[in-house]
């Protein structure tokens, strides 16, 4: 049984797209492949003209660090780091200078509405606040694309709406490209582009 079968997708810069479909349709597998977390058995994946399917583990790690952002459903953050340190995590991995890191992280935390909470650890933040930190971490490194796997699954509706407002704003004002994988109708309703999947294939 193939997790994905003849799936061909093109995501454009500035897209606010979502993969949707029932459980087992291949949404997460597609996201993992685009996110360089997995390697296809056959076929190719291009990110900014680079074929990900030919890269080594180390090269894929570099791609993820520099060109891809992730927002997961839960347990996004490093528990021993503060909100500030979690947000600057990828910049630190990129060896960005400390001063520049500080400026960018403080700006993005303000952008996502967490000004004043820089020194709180994840266990001192609500679910929604933790997701905001995750979004800040994903955006601050200025990736080519942000992949969000069920980002609203573990939060209440009001929080989900405010998270979606934030991501829409980032897409609109900063042209951040988002690709969601979700069951959440609220996300589907807000997406500019919907890619439906069923049984590992694209559905019409």
């Amino acid at each position: 049984m193939k997790a994905l079968n003849e799936v061909s997708i093109r995501i454009h810069s500035g897209d606010f797209a979502t993969l949707c479909g029932p459980s087992g349709s291949g949404k997460t597998t597609t996201l993992n492949l685009i996110g360089a977390l997995d390697i296809p058995t056959s076929g190719k994946i291009f990110l900014e003209d680079k074929d990900l399917s030919t890269l080594s583990r180390t090269e894929l790690s570099t791609i993820r660090r520099n060109r891809i952002g992730f927002v997961f459903q839960a347990y996004n953050l490093v528990p021993v780091l503060t909100a500030y340190e979690n947000a600057e995590f990828v910049l630190a991995l990129q060896n960005v200078q400390k001063k520049e890191r500080q400026d960018r992280v403080m700006a993005i935390l303000k952008e996502v509405g967490l000004e004043g909470m820089e020194n709180r650890r994840p266990d001192e933040l609500s679910g929604g606040q933790q997701q905001r930190v995750a979004i800040a971490r994903a955006v601050v490194s200025e990736p080519a694309i942000i992949l969000a796997d069920e980002p609203t699954a573990n939060v209440d509706s009001d929080t989900a709406d405010s998270l979606l407002d934030l991501m829409e704003k980032l897409n609109r004002e900063k042209e951040v490209t988002f690709l969601f994988s979700t069951h959440d109708q609220r996300v589907i309703n807000r997406a500019k582009r919907i890619i439906r999947m069923r049984d590992g294939k694209l559905a019409s």
């Binding site: 993992n32 996110g35 977390l37 997995d38 583990r57 180390t58 790690s61 570099t62 993820r64 660090r65 520099n66 891809i68 952002g69 992730f70 997961f72 347990y75 996004n76 490093v78 528990p79 021993v80 780091l81 340190e85 995590f89 990828v90 630190a92 991995l93 990129q94 971490r137 994903a138």
Partner: protein, 411 residues
């Protein structure tokens, strides 16, 4: 960032970290104690053995160590002695004649060994027989007729201070010659074999008896300021003295029984410490494995956002090193009071023995003390450090090898 994360990760499981650290601490304490006990005891035994006659280093005639005999001698000994005294590590150098003789009194005669000395140059620090005199005194003339014997010999030959002792030797011409002496002093080392067979005689009297020239002797024993530098000093002397008729030996070679005992004991000590180290490593490995297995998804997320596997490996190794360091610090803290006490006062076991204890005829100190040489301390610290890295290696590599997509499936 890695150091900071590693340090904080340790304290997510405080109890586990503290238990593991205390394991390391206790192991460090035991390792330092065993090593310090050994360093003190071995140094003590070596230094005592050198006072039995041959010093830390001995210059002697070629072949003398294998087949000692009074026909083998060194010439120009005072020049050699003065030459050697210029070496900074040499504390003292003496000239002695050592040989076998028959010792007779009115009632009996027995075989033994004599050491002929210049009393003006000898002292109790270099000569155990002098330091062990319990009755009378050391003779003062180098050509006099004084003699110092052990308590057991005095008992066997029914001698006391002032009584006559006759010794008989074979001189350089192969003639049997005898001399009369009077007992001026009696010593007791506590080792029956030594007290029953060793005798001190004046060196110039022996020279005259044997037919030696003024500047001839059988050995030049040399005393260094640190027994650990024996090998180095021997090499220096070898370069200085280019004489094929003479050889320079260290205490290992002149006291093989003592050297053998120390080697075996040290080997057992190392074996115990290796086993100790393995136990500690197992504890660290267990802790680190649990730490890694509990955080599989967390590692998946870190790798997903771009942390390279090598960096993750470094993170886990750093956590292991931190545990080792914390344990080491605790270990030093609990060791210091014990070390201070043991190095100054020690534990006295002499109450358990009527007479002294000896190793190959060398009496050793029954007060157990500590002495840690700096190189031993460094070796222990490095050993603990290497151990913690080795124990953390498997969990670290394991964490880095798991594909991120597999790690993310864990909850």
């Amino acid at each position: 960032m890695v150091n900071k994360m590693a340090w904080r990760n340790l304290w997510r499981r405080k109890r586990r970290t503290l238990i593991t650290s205390f394991t390391v601490a206790f192991g460090t304490f035991l390792s330092i104690s065993l090593t310090a006990m050994g360093d003190y005891a071995y140094t003590n035994i070596i230094n005592r053995s050198t006072t039995m006659g041959f010093g830390h280093i001995t210059i002697e005639p070629m072949g003398y160590n294998d087949t000692p005999g009074l026909d083998k001698k060194i010439t120009d000994v005072e020049s050699i002695r003065n030459f050697v005294l210029q070496i900074p590590e040499v504390k003292s150098a003496l000239v002695r004649i050592v040989g076998q003789a028959m010792f007779a009194s009115a009632i009996k005669n027995i075989g033994g060994t004599f050491i002929a000395i210049d009393p003006a140059k000898e002292n109790s620090e270099r000569n155990i027989f002098i330091s062990s005199i319990i009755e009378g005194f050391l003779f003062e003339e180098t050509d006099g007729r004084g003699v110092v014997i052990g308590t057991k010999m005095a008992k066997k030959l029914n001698l006391r201070i002032g009584k006559k002792l006759i010794y008989t030797v074979t001189d350089i011409n192969g003639e049997i010659v005898s001399e009369i002496t009077r007992v001026t002093g009696i010593f007791k080392t506590g080792v029956d074999e030594v007290d029953g067979s060793m005798v001190l005689l004046p060196i110039d009297r022996i020279r005259a008896t044997l037919g030696y020239k003024k500047d001839e002797a059988t050995i030049v024993p040399i005393y260094t300021n640190d027994q650990r530098k024996t090998g180095k000093v021997r090499n220096v002397i070898n370069r200085m003295i280019e004489n094929p008729e003479v050889e320079v030996l260290t205490w290992n070679e002149t006291q093989p029984e003592t050297a053998g005992f120390i080697t075996i004991d040290r080997g057992m000590n190392y074996l115990i410490q290796i086993l100790l180290g393995l136990l500690i490593a197992a504890g660290i490995l267990n802790t680190m494995l649990m730490n890694v297995l509990e955080r599989t998804r967390e590692f998946g997320i870190m790798m997903a956002v771009g942390m390279a596997p090598a960096r993750l490996v470094r993170l886990i190794l750093t956590e292991s090193i931190w545990i080792g360091l914390v344990g080491l610090i605790f270990g030093v803290m609990i060791t210091i009071p014990c070390y201070v006490y043991m190095s100054n006062i020690g534990i006295d076991f002499s109450g358990f023995y009527e007479e002294g204890s000896d190793v190959g005829g060398v009496l050793f100190d029954l007060v157990i003390k500590f002495r840690l040489y700096w190189e031993s301390a460094v070796a222990i610290l490095c050993g603990v450090f290497v151990l913690t890295i080795a124990a953390g290696l498997y969990p670290a590599v394991r964490s880095g090898r798991m594909p991120p997509v597999e790690s993310l499936k864990n909850l």
